[in-house]
Subunit: 346 residues, 2 copies
């Protein structure tokens, strides 16, 4: 039997902790025997929550952590000072190999800082991007970077493209994923200084399937599998997704409730509509992996419910079984060798 995938879960992070987190963790282990969850947080609180459920005790452990990092705290300071927090303790478990992965709905800043400072980057990775999966009409795309490190450099965007391609191919299962550069026009010469330079680097890159610029308008239609951009732009793309779809649903619901006729119609279309829209909601997917670390760190929405926590835990299986980090490591070594060769004029 293959070794279990060990996932540390931040029982204290997010708006719905510990209730939804513990629920999602139990659901994950009940769904898949290959996972063992380590619930990290205040033991008495976690124990109380766990009373509600039945599960295979060999698949779950509690790791006590007294402190909690709040969402508003300055992340660098929090990671440095709160050594007994669930986030810091879980990060060390990944670093030391006790766990393969860490899932948290807590402070994004603390997760990003902790991932880099405690878990550490794979050698050669300049900047680990936060890479959420976003829904499209064709399926899903990976959008990276959506992290907190804005003002990235072109070479970093090329690394995002490579790591994103490895993830989409091996975790999501899309062969030869199409890489698009998020830009304000499709033509090669369009964009700002960053995208213009990045375009040329991506075009010259043999390791990926670069299809050119992708305009924001085309993102929801699924024109590319891997969407590369700097974090400021990525954040806007991601949050416009949430904002526009949320506002539209509100508007549509108001329209449906506006007349008696429409109310009856609404009752009739509800089941079909619900099913159709489900696949287009960002909540329906697991959290966003922070790629390029010596271990897997997954950040889920602060507002995550059990379903998202469960998905986030389960996606760690493919990540480990497909040896994603080993593949990223190999890519980085290859890049380093090529760099040396070109420096030596071979």
């Amino acid at each position: 039997m293959a070794e279990m995938v060990k996932v540390a879960v931040d029982a204290m992070g997010g708006d719905n902790a510990p209730l939804e987190i513990v629920k999602g963790a139990v659901e994950a282990i009940n769904e898949d025997k290959r996972v063992k969850v380590f619930l990290v947080g205040q033991e008495p609180v976690i124990k109380e929550e766990l009373k509600k459920y039945t599960y295979d005790v060999s698949q779950l452990e509690i790791v006590h952590a007294e402190e909690v990092i709040e969402t508003g705290e300055p992340p660098v300071m929090a990671i440095r000072r709160k050594k007994n927090s669930s986030i810091v303790k879980a990060m060390y478990m990944v670093k030391e190999g006790t766990c393969d992965a860490f899932v948290s709905a807590g402070s994004t800043g603390a997760v990003l800082v902790g991932g880099q400072v405690i878990v550490g980057r794979i050698k050669g990775v300049d900047r680990p991007p936060l890479a959420p999966v976003i829904p499209t009409l064709e399926g899903v795309s990976l959008l990276l970077d959506c992290g907190a490190n804005v003002d990235a450099k072109p070479v970093q965007l090329v690394q995002f493209a490579k790591m994103g391609s490895i993830y989409m191919e091996n975790v999501i299962g899309i062969p030869n994923p199409r890489v698009g550069l998020v830009n304000i026009g499709v033509e090669e010469e369009k964009g700002n200084a960053l995208t213009k330079e990045t375009y040329q680097l991506l075009k010259a890159c043999d390791d990926i399937n670069f299809i050119g610029n992708v305009e924001a308008r085309d993102i929801p239609y699924g024109l590319a599998d891997v969407l590369v951009c700097e974090a400021f732009a990525g954040n806007i793309v991601l949050k416009m997704y949430e904002g526009v779809s949320g506002a539209m649903m509100k508007k549509i619901k108001a329209g449906m409730m506006s007349t008696l006729r429409s109310k009856i119609g609404a009752l009739l279309i509800k089941p079909a509509l619900k099913k159709t829209l489900k696949g287009f909601s960002t909540d329906e997917y697991g959290g966003a992996p922070l790629l390029g670390l010596n271990g897997l760190v997954v950040k889920t929405h602060g507002s995550s419910k059990a379903i998202e926590v469960r998905h986030s835990i389960l996606q760690c299986i493919a990540f480990k079984e497909q040896n994603i980090n080993e593949k990223i490591r190999e890519q980085m070594i290859l890049d380093e060798e090529r760099k040396k060769e070109s420096e030596n004029g071979i």
Copy 2:
């Protein structure tokens, strides 16, 4: 009787020229006696189109322009070489005062370049932003800059905020409009180098009602009346609006057609839904003004139909009658005086 508002209209620009452009122009003059339209383009073609309509001939003139600037042409070259194009001819009419405004659905690049090079900037305006009105759940917001000039400076964003406030207050009629800085977090210290510096300048600015950072997620909910950002970000916001709403509608329609039950429901809710969603479509508003020029230049969608052309022409009335450019000019003089005072240590 007040002087008529004279609007040059690019009869040859856009995907639906000349048909929809001429139609929109005729609709505009038939709707409002205060407007006189100058249809600029190939006279025989325009004359042929005009045969379809009845209108007050004193409200319409044809100005012959033999050449057409295509959307794909490099804009700077096109403006320089095609002196007899509808865009260049119309721009000169605005520059020379024959017209107050110019409306075009043609090449965005050529309109932006022509506006700056031919019509010219108001003294003190560093960079004229393209400022579309976008729909929100509360009404509309002005998003600027969405132009082609990326990599703006903080002082330029402050000018956008001031010009945008003048526009929203006087053309759209929102007193003391709330100015938000498009950013990746609400806290003051969030963002990239540009937004951090801009935040401080906007905070220190007495002429506007700055309410702080606005996350992309909150834009569709109408949290701010004037949304300030650099053009790359603005373009993404605008095109995500179009993309997400378009993709969602496609998905919803598919859902409605998926079962017999839902098909019946769809028939019942259609009228109410159509009305509700109408206000949330970017097509329902006039084009985007290019603010800060010595005259008004309005760019409408390349795919504009008559309705958008009509709205774009009619919005020129408020722009002129409210003396928007005079107000921008006064603001720039005020800024210049303040700058001198502070340099002289007064």
